[in-house]
Amino acid sequence: MWFFASPEIVFGEDALSYLSEIEGQRAFIVTDQNIVRLGFVDLVARQLKAAGMEYQTFAEVEPNPTFEMVKRGAAAMSGYGPDWIIGLGGGSCLDAAKAMWVLYERPDMEPEEINPMIPLGLRQKARLITIPTTSGTGAEVTWVVVLTDAQERRKLVLGSRENVADLAIVDPVLVKALPPHIAADTGMDALTHAVEGYTSSWANDFCDGLCLKAIQLVFDYLPRAVANEEDAEARQKMHNAATIAGLGFGNSMGALAHAMGHPLSPLFGVPHGRAVGVFLPYTIEFMARQAPARYAEIARFLGLGGASDADGAASLVEAVRDLARRIKQPASVKELGILREDYEAALQKMIEDGENDTVTSARIPDREELARLFRYAYEGKIVDF
């Protein structure tokens, strides 16, 4: 028994205009200062006004939202009393909106208690709309809420199926001006979601097609979307790919590249997509040494070479590395600019924090293997164990 959860998804040009049709009284927009500066809050506000709704904006979300920040936002939300919550921005804004929504509905809970194992009873006070402004997070359609414990400098994967938004609006107008390096980082995030969603131990028939399609879109359109900001088709396809990948991995879960990538953000300030993307080829190599078949299926779908499953998986690794090169993503942790001594000093913590997220990997490394993987990824060595 398992579930497939998805919001209603409105996508394509003018998707934002659908906001003018929602019924309600008050909307609470959760976003960050950059999104305000870009004028996206104004775009949303225009539609809300057309719907006859009042709104208030909380624009204090920071990258890697912390427990403290979401508590602040939930307090502001409670003071305003919205019947719609709108998460507008990248993954941090969307995850923050999801967490604040829970705390607004359940003031008895702490952020770190948000979990999928008990009913939360959401939607008594408000419903959630998610509007991504990057093409990678997938948070607009997933139930996962990634928050950071600032004291421990640790990311925690929280959330509940009830956290899935009621409505996701995927409008390419919001990524037209996305800077190329952010398009590259977030595009690698989408690719990692899709590859891990297809190969995790919870992969399932309902997600497979979504993951494969997302992988194909990323390979076809990410280089164009990064190389040329004016390539509207590529930007739109990547925006769709990210949401499709989110649906895929959100219902089958991420795996080892996410487990290894998560610690890099709070410890070294590496953007999430770049962090998980740099580990992706190494984790494929590691997994494929025991279970290459699913990776070979991806390779076949993409039309890559490979007479055997192992060859197919190897060709996928090469394709991922080639894609990363083309969009100027780092090939190793060293290329992220992290000093070896700092990395070694943090290694134990990265292992401890990362291993909690390895539970859905098809091959789960023990602590020694995880340490070796971190070191191989630092040096850029081909994984041979």
């Binding site: 028994m1 208690e113 979990n115 194992m117 925690l156 994967v157 199926r161 539970v359």
Partner: protein, 136 residues
């Protein structure tokens, strides 16, 4: 081979946990005792309740209790016999079981969310205990 609903079985699991380096590592921060409740199904008429005192990667005590009031553990995990059987046979991923609420858990959820790997290693140990199930 210990019978599943016996004191002998839970003590065998306790021993397995204490021999497992992987469990010791994954549960190094774990503090809290547990009731594992096997809800009646088939020929069972009463629930079977296993008590385990789990502390920083070690099992300090384990026994079958006959009166639920005997202890007041921090966590309680309950499921029908058939679900436990699937977990132990690796037919049901324990984390997926919790997410689909086929395994029902009560207790400090923040602690659970920080120690998902420990739950997985605990089940790994369960699978290594030779087990005779009631209907076998």
């Amino acid at each position: 081979m210990p019978k599943f609903l016996s004191d002998e079985w839970i003590k065998a699991l306790c021993q397995e946990l204490n021999q497992s380096e992987a469990y010791a590592q994954a549960a190094r921060n774990w503090e809290g005792d547990f009731y594992f409740i096997v809800e009646p199904e088939g020929e069972m008429t009463e629930p079977a309740i296993f008590y385990m005192d789990l502390w920083h990667g070690k099992c300090r005590d384990a026994k079958l209790v006959t009166d639920e009031k005997e202890k007041d553990p921090v966590f309680r995990m309950g499921a029908p016999l058939s679900s436990w059987r699937k977990v132990i046979a690796r037919e049901l991923d324990p984390v997926q079981g919790l997410l689909t609420r086929r395994l029902k858990l009560k207790g400090n959820m923040a602690m659970i969310m920080r120690n998902v790997k420990a739950a997985q290693e605990l089940v790994e140990c369960c699978t290594r205990v030779p087990t005779e199930f009631p209907s076998e």
